[in-house]
């Protein structure tokens, strides 16, 4: 009997905390109802997940090849100088890495520019100083620039990289530039949002100490705030590189020579063995990058 009573007391004591906590139940119920309603609107029928015999056969054929990927071409007649499946997969993997790697520097640059702009730390940087006599322009311009950067970032990432790709294919054709720009824009927008949050949430103790020692707002930002956010920012950029690999692979569906290009071609010909060769290559690639970025993150760990 004592425990629930105590819970009520704690809840009652802090209205700011108790409010949202008390509303959690109804909100969850509302979300669940919304989910059911959406399923009803879409006429989702769980029975359709149980396919007929023919579909079962197809699915069995596809997943049956998972552990026996093709090591040589499944097509019967090919020109004699056609490279082996493994050569093609390896080349496509390298191309995928190259596309992703080319997209990351502009993404990061965009993310840094918009992220710094969107963060509130650079224009409230001297708040730690307890103070007074701040630069007037900073207080006026800060919120405007910050809101503008947030808006641009949101606009960039609200369009998926595949849609950007469609747009730039129309503009540039199937050129590497189209793919890199299509990746860099939404990735820059995402990095900007996360960078801004990391900068704003970094511990402020050192920044406060520097302001007390006479450092100006920019100096407080570069010396006190940014270094504390940097390890997280680097770790997140590495994670986005991993995402860029998958995106670059999928861009192959539009004709860029990444893994997705070969994947789509083999799939259309029902060469499931080859499909799995490419899928395993992609998996290997992602796992490798994950391992590598993990090693880098451990070195940076605070």
């Amino acid at each position: 009997m004592a425990a629930p009573e105590a819970a009520w007391t704690v809840r009652g004591r802090g209205p700011a905390r108790g409010g949202p906590r008390g509303a959690r139940g109804p909100v969850l119920l509302l979300l669940a109802l919304a989910g059911l309603w959406a399923a009803w609107v879409l006429r989702l029928d769980p029975r359709a997940l149980w396919p007929d015999a023919q579909a079962w056969g197809l699915a069995g054929e596809f997943f049956g090849r998972a552990f026996t990927p093709a090591l040589s071409h499944q097509a019967s007649s090919l020109p004699p100088d056609t490279p082996s499946i493994l050569t093609i997969a390896l080349r496509a993997a390298v191309t995928t890495v190259v596309f992703a790697a080319a997209a990351m520097p502009p993404s990061i640059l965009l993310g840094l520019l918009l992220g710094f702009g969107a963060s509130t730390a650079w224009w409230t940087g001297d708040r730690e100083s307890g103070g007074r006599r701040r630069f007037a322009w900073r207080r006026v311009l800060g919120p405007v620039v910050s809101a503008a950067c947030r808006f641009v970032g949101a606009a960039l990432r609200s369009v998926h990289e595949l849609l950007w790709a469609v747009l730039f294919l129309a503009a540039f054709g199937v050129t590497p530039l189209a793919a890199v720009v299509a990746l860099a824009l939404p990735y820059g927008g995402t990095l900007a949002k996360v960078f801004a949050e990391m900068i704003d949430e970094a511990p402020r103790d050192a920044a406060g100490a520097l302001a007390e020692a006479g450092a100006g707002p920019w100096q407080v930002f570069w010396w006190g705030r940014l270094p504390r956010a940097l390890p997280d920012m680097i770790a997140y950029a590495l994670y986005r590189f991993e995402c860029a690999l998958r995106s670059a692979a999928v861009l192959g569906f539009f004709g860029f020579p990444t893994l997705g290009y070969h994947l789509a071609a083999s799939f259309e010909n029902l060469y499931y063995g080859e499909v799995w060769s490419y899928l395993w290559t992609l998996l290997l690639l992602v796992v490798t990058v994950d391992w590598w970025s993990g090693a880098v993150r451990r070195r940076l760990a605070v």
Binding site: G131, E212, A213, G214, G216, W222, P227, L230
Partner: protein
């Protein structure tokens, strides 16, 4: 700039709560003062007034003869660059080198571009100066170590070196030994009083322990409920009375 500090009729209120009341206090250039009193007596507020982090509700605070209320932003920054604060919780950047933490003490006298150059690639002279200070505080070989790889005691010395890099005229230490074992507390107070004496800087250190005040300071100022309750050589003051139960002490002191 000189390191004299002068409070005249200073009131500080946080909302309706008074933190300091009609405080008059004068600390001479180069003097070492222990600031005593129970929690909530106003010690931290008094220290924060000296670098302009807290603005008085009434009265004036003068540091080096300058009325803090009359300073514009740039002048306040210049003053702060010569007033070093050592916090109990250090407030270092943990994931950069010791050198960067020490050099960050020089930001107040550097312009933005000059300090950015220091951030990217410290000048040899700066590194030599930082090394010399680390030698003075006893962690000379740690210049290029990552700060959070150092022990707590070593990090505390890095924080002291950062304060010294400010070339301070006034050193403020806010409960520097509150969460430190007695032997280390003794060492740190020894170090800080010696450094302040060598550099001729004013030292104001808030402490919990009357013993340390008696051992190291020629003068103690005791605060209670936002007022100066006692001021003089620690050996002549009944400092232990400060920490008795409020009812007991109030009965004797009154208001």
């Amino acid at each position: 700039m000189t390191g004299d500090v002068n409070f005249q009729g200073v009131d500080v209120r946080f909302g309706a709560v008074p933190a300091l009341r009609a405080l008059d206090l004068r600390v001479a250039d180069g003097e070492a003062v222990a600031l005593l009193g129970p929690s909530g007596a106003g010690k931290t507020t008094l220290l924060r007034l000296i670098n302009g982090s807290v603005v008085p509700s009434a009265g004036t605070v003068r540091v080096g003869g300058q009325d803090l209320a009359s300073l514009d932003y740039g002048a306040l920054r210049r003053l702060r660059s010569r007033v070093a604060v050592i916090h109990q919780d250090l407030r270092l950047v943990p994931n950069v080198s010791v050198a960067r933490n020490v050099l960050s003490g020089g930001l107040g006298r550097q312009g933005f571009w000059s300090s950015t150059r220091t951030l990217l690639r410290p000048r040899d002279a700066e590194l030599e100066a930082a090394h010399a200070l680390l030698e003075r505080v006893g962690v000379a070989d740690k210049l290029f170590h990552r700060t959070d790889r150092l022990s707590g005691g070593q990090q505390q010395r890095v924080a002291v070196a950062r304060a010294l890099y400010q070339q301070p005229r006034v050193m403020l230490a806010d409960e520097p030994v509150a969460s430190v074992d007695p032997a280390r507390a003794h060492d740190l107070v020894t170090l800080l009083t010696r450094l302040a004496r060598e550099d001729g800087a004013t030292l104001i250190m808030s402490l919990h322990s009357p013993e340390l005040a008696r051992a190291f300071f020629p003068r103690a100022v005791a605060l209670r409920d936002g007022r100066v309750a006692a001021d003089g050589p620690p050996s002549e003051l009944d400092l232990d009375a400060l920490y008795r139960l409020p009812a007991e002490a109030d009965a004797g002191g009154g208001a």
